[in-house]
Symmetry: C2
Subunit: 339 residues, 2 copies
DNA sequence: TGAGACGTGGGTAACGTTTTCCAAATGTTT
DNA sequence: AAACATTTGGAAAACGTTACCCACGTCTCA
C-alpha cells in the first residue's frame, strides 16, 4: 500500500528535472550520456515504472490489443504466438480480448480497446461491417488478419484461401477422384461473400473443380463439428455418393468423419476426407487428417510488423500481405476404391 | 482523426457542469433524475465514451487482467469463459496477457498489468514465488486460480486435486487393478511441492494407494506429451508391468497411449489409462479417455466473483474456494486382463 | 422563526506523464 | 571577435477524469 514511485521522485533522486527523466525514458533527443546514466541509475534504485495510464493521457500506452473470435481455435493461438514473437521485447505489451463472437461483441471489444487508448489493434477474423472496421482503423492503427479485401485504412494479412482450396481439389483429383464434394459455411451477406475465408475457400473449390472439368457438389452448413456431421449426412444421402469430401475446416472434417463412420463407411477406403487449418486435431495420431496448413505464426509476425510500421507512420499506404498455404497429406485421403 | 469527445463537451452540450456529468457516469450520489436524464441524452447524442487512461490516472480503469500460462490449454479457456460470464456486462473489460510461461515472463506480465492500473488480476496457475505473488496482491486486488495454499493477501480458487487423484485410484482399484502406476511432473521446489496441482495429484495418488494397501509405482517426468511417452516407456520396461496408468494430465495420457501402442499392447485390454483435466482431447471420440473433470467455468466464475468482491472491499479477509472434481469414465479403463 | 439537515449542483485541485516552448552554454564558421 | 548553430537542460501547460470541498435552496422540527 506504499505510495507509487513517480517520475517526480526519480527526478528528485537524480537531481535533474522531470523533463530530463521523461527524455531518458523515451530515448528522446536532448539528453547527454552523463545525464542518461544518472537517470537510469535513479530509476533502477527506486524501482520506478512509468504509469501507462498517465502516458496514455498524453501519448502512447505501449499496448497492443488483439481481438480474437475464439480462444479454443489453435490456429488463432499460432497467430498470437507470431505476434508475441515479433513484438518480442519491445516496450509494447500484447493484450487479448476474449469472447468476441458476433458483431455486437466485436463492437464492444473494439470500443473497449479504443477507450483504453491502445496504440494499435490486431483484429483476427472480424465479422464486423467493413464500414465499422474502417472507422476503427481511422481512430487507431489497425491490422486485420484473415479477412480478404483491401482497405484504405488498415493493413491486412491473409492466407490465400483460393489457392488452398485448389491444393485440396488438385490433390484429390490427382488421386483419381471425380466426385469431390465440399462442405461450406453458409453465407449470404454480400461483403462477407467476398471477404471471409470460408467464402474464398468455396470459391477456390468451384474454380479448381471447373478447371478440372468436374461438377461441384456442395453441402452448405456451418463451420462447426455439427455442421460437418450434418453436411456429410446430407451428401451421403444423395443418389450419387461422393468419393471424397473437402471440408472447409478441420472441425468440419471431424464431424464429417463421424457421419461417415455412422454410415458404416471407411476412410479413406470408401471415401476420402480433407480438412483445412492443419490444427492440432488434424495432426493428432488417431485422426491423421489431410489438411491445408496456414502458417499462423508467420501471419501473426507479419501482422505485428505491419502494425508497428503503421504506428510509426500512420499515413503510410496500406498493404496487403497474402501468404501461400501448404497441403499436408495424411491418412484420410487415398485413391477412390473403384472407378 | 476527429478530436475525441470529452466530458467537457458533454457538459457543455447538456448545459451542466463537468462534475455533474462525472456523477452520472459513475452513478454517484448527488444528481437528480432530471439531470441524469439530460446528461444521458447528451452522452448518447455525442457518442461520448470515457477515456480509460484519464480514469486510470484518478481511480479505476474498469479493466481486469488475466494471466494465463498457455493459450492452447483448453482447461484455461474454460476458466476464462467462466470469468467472462461472471463479469458479464458489468463495466469491466477482461484482458488476457499471453505467453506467461516461466517466472520471468510472469514477472513482466504482472508488472505490465500493474503499470496499466488494472483494477484486478486473475492469475491462473502462476509459478512465481509466493513472496512475489503476495507483493502483487498487496498492490492490486488479486485472485489466484489453480494453486493450493492460502495467502493473507490474495483469494484463491482451486480444484481438489488430492480428491481427484483418489477418484482415479479408487476407480481403477474397484475395477480390480492392483499395480496402478502414476506419471507425475517432476518437482523439487519446496513451495511448489505444497502448492502446485501436479504435486497435489501425486500426493493424492500416494494417499489413495496407501489407503487401499497398494504399493505406489511412479515415473517422474513432465506434464507434456513427451513426458507421458517417456514415462510410460519407462514403466513398461520394468520387471512387473503395471496394469493401469494414471497420468497426471490428459496430454500426458496421450503420450502414454502412444508408447503403449508402440509396445504392441492394447488399451484397455492389456493396460488401462486415465488422465486428468477432461480436456476436449479426452472427450474426443477416437480417444475417449477416462479423465478427471475440473469445472473450469465454475472456477473462473468463482474467481471473478471473489475479485469483484475484493475490489469493492480490499480489506476483506481472504478466502479459499476449493471445488470438487468428477471422474468421467470412458473407454480407456476396464478391469485387468488376468489376475 | 431559527437552526439544522438534506438535496442539488458546481469549482477546482489533483493524478503522472509528454511536449512545446525557452534559455543558457558550448561549438563552429566567417 | 562577431554571428550563428547546436547541444543541453528545465519550466510549465496540457491530457480527461475524479473527488473533495463549498454554496445555495428547501424542508423539518423544535
Amino acid at each position: 500500500m506504499d505510495k507509487r514511485v513517480t517520475i517526480v521522485d526519480v527526478a528528485r533522486h537524480a537531481q535533474v528535472s522531470v523533463t530530463a527523466v521523461s527524455k531518458v525514458l523515451r530515448n528522446a533527443y536532448g539528453a547527454s550520456p552523463a545525464m542518461r546514466e544518472k537517470v537510469q541509475q535513479a530509476i533502477a534504485e527506486l524501482g520506478y515504472r512509468p504509469s501507462a495510464a498517465a502516458r496514455g493521457l498524453r501519448g502512447q500506452t505501449y499496448t497492443i490489443g488483439v481481438m480474437i473470435p475464439e480462444l479454443r481455435n489453435l490456429f488463432f493461438a499460432d497467430v498470437i504466438d507470431g505476434i508475441n514473437a515479433q513484438i518480442g521485447d519491445t516496450d509494447y505489451q500484447v493484450l487479448i480480448a476474449p469472447g468476441c463472437n458476433g458483431e455486437k461483441a466485436e463492437a464492444r471489444v473494439m470500443d473497449a480497446m479504443i477507450d483504453r487508448s491502445m496504440d494499435g489493434l490486431v483484429l483476427i477474423a472480424p465479422v464486423s461491417s467493413k464500414k465499422r472496421l474502417n472507422e476503427v482503423a481511422r481512430t487507431v492503427p489497425t491490422v486485420v488478419v484473415g479477412r480478404h479485401g483491401s482497405s484504405p485504412d488498415y493493413d491486412s494479412v491473409t492466407d490465400d484461401d483460393v489457392a488452398g482450396a485448389a491444393l485440396v481439389v488438385d490433390h484429390l483429383a490427382d488421386l483419381g477422384h471425380r466426385r469431390i464434394a465440399h462442405i461450406e459455411h453458409h453465407e449470404t451477406d454480400r461483403v462477407r461473400l467476398a471477404e471471409m475465408p470460408n467464402a474464398q475457400r468455396a470459391a477456390g473449390y468451384r474454380d479448381a473443380m471447373a478447371r478440372r472439368g468436374l461438377e461441384p457438389v456442395i453441402a452448405s452448413t456451418s463451420y462447426t463439428h455439427e455442421g460437418g456431421y450434418l453436411g456429410a449426412k446430407e451428401l451421403l444421402a444423395r443418389a450419387e455418393l461422393p468419393t471424397a469430401i473437402f471440408a472447409g475446416a478441420d472441425v468440419v472434417a471431424l464431424g464429417a468423419l463421424e457421419a461417415i463412420a455412422e454410415a458404416g463407411l471407411s476412410v479413406p477406403g470408401d471415401i476420402s476426407v480433407a480438412g483445412y487449418d492443419n490444427s492440432a486435431l488434424a495432426a493428432f495420431g488417431p485422426v491423421s487428417l489431410t489438411s491445408v496448413d496456414q502458417d499462423g505464426r508467420q501471419m501473426g509476425a507479419d501482422a505485428a510488423r505491419l502494425l508497428l510500421d503503421r504506428i510509426r507512420d500512420r499515413d503510410r499506404r496500406t498493404t496487403q500481405v497474402k501468404l501461400s498455404p501448404n497441403l499436408v497429406v495424411r491418412r484420410t485421403t487415398a485413391g477412390p476404391a473403384s472407378p
